[in-house]
Symmetry: C2
Subunit: 355 residues, 2 copies
């Protein structure tokens, strides 16, 4: 596998099929992403050629040397099950993209398709990196001062203390690569910050995280309301809680939007009020907009897989490509592999690993 | 124990000490609550007499025959540990309030103090009702159309499938008592609505809930973003996820408030905009205000214990007293006991209980 460490140009495979908004959205995202990535980088668009070619024409990138098409005849559907999809749809665009990364024909892949299949097929094709058993999805979320990383947001609903510790190490490096933080503050999400609260799994994880010493900047257990204040840069939780949290917050935003519309109705004075507040609202929207950071890497695999999340529109996909490129230029995957080995040694010395 | 079934007047013990905002807030809440409860009902205020008497004078309820003081010399602090507090602070107001309920001298108790001690001491003094192992906290939350019940929001972080099923039965009856719903729709919070997603615990719980047949109106697994749409009346989850969710949503509200203030700064046009939108904002605030439903019962105990949550201000405490009174007049605790027995029989027939 070619992780392209040290090289200056990267090839990113983009799975164009199977997203909620269709391949056009992905193709336009790729066209926009050309502005973000390096001048020598290539985007390999994977999907049904007869569908992609006219879309590339529309997006004026059909003759662009930095864009390539790679044909794949099948599509992973949103309700496909992982094992079944991997077996029966060997020529699906998502599977082909993973195989290109495996074969060293691409340095990373981006997909907007079925998360469950991406996690399953990604794990099977690319394997977890030594020291990590299971990959985790890391989302970038807004807080009062800027952004923080929440992980796992859904790859592994039954995370063990070991998985949570791996995620703390991986998340910390991702915060460096994606948010430019030097010493990201890592917190363990729980239901009370005194030691002993939150159950056996939290206590055990907390003890292990403390043993990592200065390998990560672990600040201790954090509660739900600490998350948005801006004092924690990486919030670690299991994939069940993280996924519920991510989707609930999304649901809450939609509710607020809907309620404001409903409670205001049509009224000229209200319209004027909204108009006057437009600069505030647009600053707020810009700060909160999930699209700005609409990509979540599947951390812990031996090569980089990005899931475009949120609305899955072109802005979200564009940002997934940009975040993937940033991670590549930080040589993130190889740093993570090194860091996990160090963490493992520290924990073995301290006798805290239970398998 | 006197659950006062069928009687028309109730005595509610109110723990006045140990809340974040101090006893004055509780005394003023009690004074306000006199408007909500029945004309024959009594509120028994428990705490240090020398502190409470002047506060009652201030609140103009010192001679009110519906208000009584019951002296207790000690206070449970916010950082007290359950077992230690129960042993060493026998004359704490919270413990005395629980003992009055146990002795049949009060029909329910309300506290704004340390949740962990309330759960521990409540379970020890009042015992779980037959069929329930552990109590759960049920919070009322806003959704697009009105309100729903989220439980458990923190009493039992390590809920088993059996606990979750008990909570579904209890929560359904609480929605009837507190929100006036006839056939509340019950959903099981998970990370994907297809069967088989969410892990073993969710699958097992789902199978048991289906076996309850028409005892509850179980609509199946629900995801984070379904929660606020208004299609689910009772959302069941473990006490870890529920607590994280409750506190995160609270944190998010504070963040939004803070961001709006910051991004607007001082500007006359913005001030005018806010002024014009005042009716919308106040309708929105009224809909979302946690104080309106600032009480969470500790369901599954053999008598009614209410925790005043959220800000713990007088409005929240007043609403906890009101919700407690409503539950009493619905004879909720005894209905719950009957319902749990029926549920247990159904599950035993279906062979789905694993202990």
């Amino acid at each position: 596998m070619n992780t392209s460490a040290g090289s200056k140009s990267y090839r990113i495979a983009v799975d164009c099929m199977g997203g909620d908004k269709g391949p056009a959205e992905v193709v336009f995202a790729a066209a926009m992403a050309l502005e973000d990535i390096g001048p020598e980088d290539t985007l390999i668009l994977i999907g049904q050629e007869e569908i992609l070619t006219p879309l590339l024409q529309k997006a004026h990138i059909v003759d662009n040397p930095r864009i390539k098409i790679h044909h794949a005849s099948e599509i992973i559907a949103m309700d496909d099950k992982p094992m079944q999809a991997i077996k029966s749809k060997k020529d699906a665009s998502m599977i082909r993209a993973l195989e290109m990364v495996k074969a060293g024909e691409a340095d990373a892949m981006v997909s907007t398709g079925n998360t469950k299949v991406l996690v399953g097929a990604g794990t099977l094709k690319l394997r977890p990196m030594p020291g990590a058993d299971r990959p985790a999805l890391a989302a970038i979320m807004p807080n009062h001062r800027g952004h923080f990383i929440l992980m796992d947001v859904g790859a592994n609903p039954e995370s063990t203390p070991e998985h949570l510790v791996h995620n703390a190490v991986l998340g910390s490096l991702y915060a460096q690569a994606a948010l430019g933080m030097e010493k990201p503050r890592v917190g363990l999400l729980t239901v009370g910050t005194e030691e002993g609260k939150g159950g056996e799994r939290i206590n055990h994880t907390h003890a292990m995280l403390k043993k990592l010493g200065d390998q990560i900047n672990y600040v201790g257990p954090v509660e739900g309301f600490d998350m948005f204040e801006g004092e924690i840069d990486v919030v670690i939780t299991d994939g069940f809680t993280g996924n519920v949290l991510l989707k609930s917050l999304e649901g809450l935003f939609y509710m607020l939007q809907g309620l404001i519309k409903e409670k205001s109705g049509f009224n000229l004075l209200y319209a004027l009020g909204f108009l006057l507040l437009m600069p505030v609202l647009s600053k707020l929207k810009h700060h909160l907009k999930p699209e700005r950071n609409g990509g979540a890497p599947l951390l812990g695999l031996s090569a980089l897989v990005m899931k475009a999340h949120g609305s899955g529109n072109r802005n979200a996909i564009r940002s997934a490509i940009r975040l993937g490129r940033e991670a590549l230029s930080h040589n993130m995957t190889s740093r993570m592999q090194d860091a996990l080995i160090i963490a493992k040694e520290k924990l073995e010395e301290s006798d805290l690993i239970v398998q």
